[in-house]
Symmetry: C2
Subunit: 207 residues, 2 copies
């Protein structure tokens, strides 16, 4: 993605503006978060005029949709990088940690991915991209024996809710009200693993 951003040729025609704008937008998200994003700054970083992005993306929504799709790709990669063990509970703990870590490492991307007002979910790639990102969770949950007769969707929803809630609370710096003034990063590294180990012990049979 980095290389795609370099102009194929300098001059009136950028040569690779679409990719350059996507990269620029992603970098703004990294630098200033989702609230610091502006279409004009993306154009500025790509070295083009304010109206140029409209031709490729129609609107800011169109550009951010592309970034969100990349975001789901990177989340999926982060989750798939978690080694699969023979203990589904262990896998769930590792996936949960990876999920929260991703949110903390890429807060801009993560927040964008869930913003229905900024991302065009009608894009046919959206459902596929977001579903694939969570396929690791789905697999671990289906592999995991359960004592309840809950359907797989209900179980996925519960697990997803838990990790998504943890990610959001930590990202919004709400955990500090419960665990002292520890930084979000320290919390995830030092406290969260313990919490997960007790939430999903390897000998449990819940959900």
């Amino acid at each position: 993605m980095q290389d795609d951003a370099s102009p194929a040729k300098a001059g009136y025609h950028h040569g690779n503006l679409k990719a350059a704008l996507i990269t620029a937008a992603d970098e703004i998200l990294r630098d200033k978060g989702i609230e610091g994003f502006s279409l004009r700054e993306a154009a500025r970083r790509a070295g083009v005029s304010v109206g140029a992005p409209a031709h490729h993306f129609g609107s800011a929504n169109g550009l951010l949709t592309e970034v969100a799709l990349l975001g789901y790709g990177s989340l999926g990669a982060a989750l798939n990088a978690v080694a699969i063990t023979e203990d589904p509970q262990e896998d769930l703990r590792a996936l949960a940690l990876a999920y929260v870590t991703f949110a903390l490492d890429h807060p801009g991307r993560f927040r964008l991915m869930f913003r229905a007002d900024l991302v065009n979910r009608e894009d046919p790639r959206y459902a596929e991209s977001s579903t694939r990102a969570l396929s690791g969770f789905a697999a671990a949950i289906t592999r995991k024996p359960t004592s309840t007769e809950s359907g797989p969707m209900a179980r996925i929803f519960l697990v997803w809710s838990l990790v998504h809630g943890m990610a959001n609370l930590v990202l919004d710096d709400k955990a500090k009200y419960l665990f002292g003034g520890a930084s979000p990063d320290a919390f995830v590294r030092q406290v969260l693993p313990d919490i997960l180990a007790r939430a999903w012990p390897s000998d449990a049979t819940d959900v």
Copy 2:
């Protein structure tokens, strides 16, 4: 709050502008959501010039902080309205349902309450207001026996994460990818109670 908004006197001086602006802002959140809010429109709805709010709140941040504090008050009221039974698990299910229902009934307020960039958390009333709102959860969790030796803070964090994650996923219309195209409202009324019953059965001893 509604009555506080009516001007004590018409004329150059509004008479009760501070309360009127808070009401106007809350109504904008109800009508157009957090992204549709603007300080200028709040001034417009209160029938006052664009610079008037600055005197009372300093900035948009200051006004929204007041609205967020009211929001935590209304969330606390919604949670405290849940009847306390002799079954802590039953209480947790009712609280969870109330939490998600509140988020769905007041999406603008709910989203604002967790926006660190829009709300001044240094305000001394903030910590008190948000802690009190969740006191019902804390009480139910402390009353609930557990088989693990997790600390109360860890247990609160887990429960809060679960309900907060559910609220956010439903609010962001993500549940539909798991449970067909059911509207968020229908999901909360028809599907969620079942899910909660299986997540926190009355005879369980987890978390």
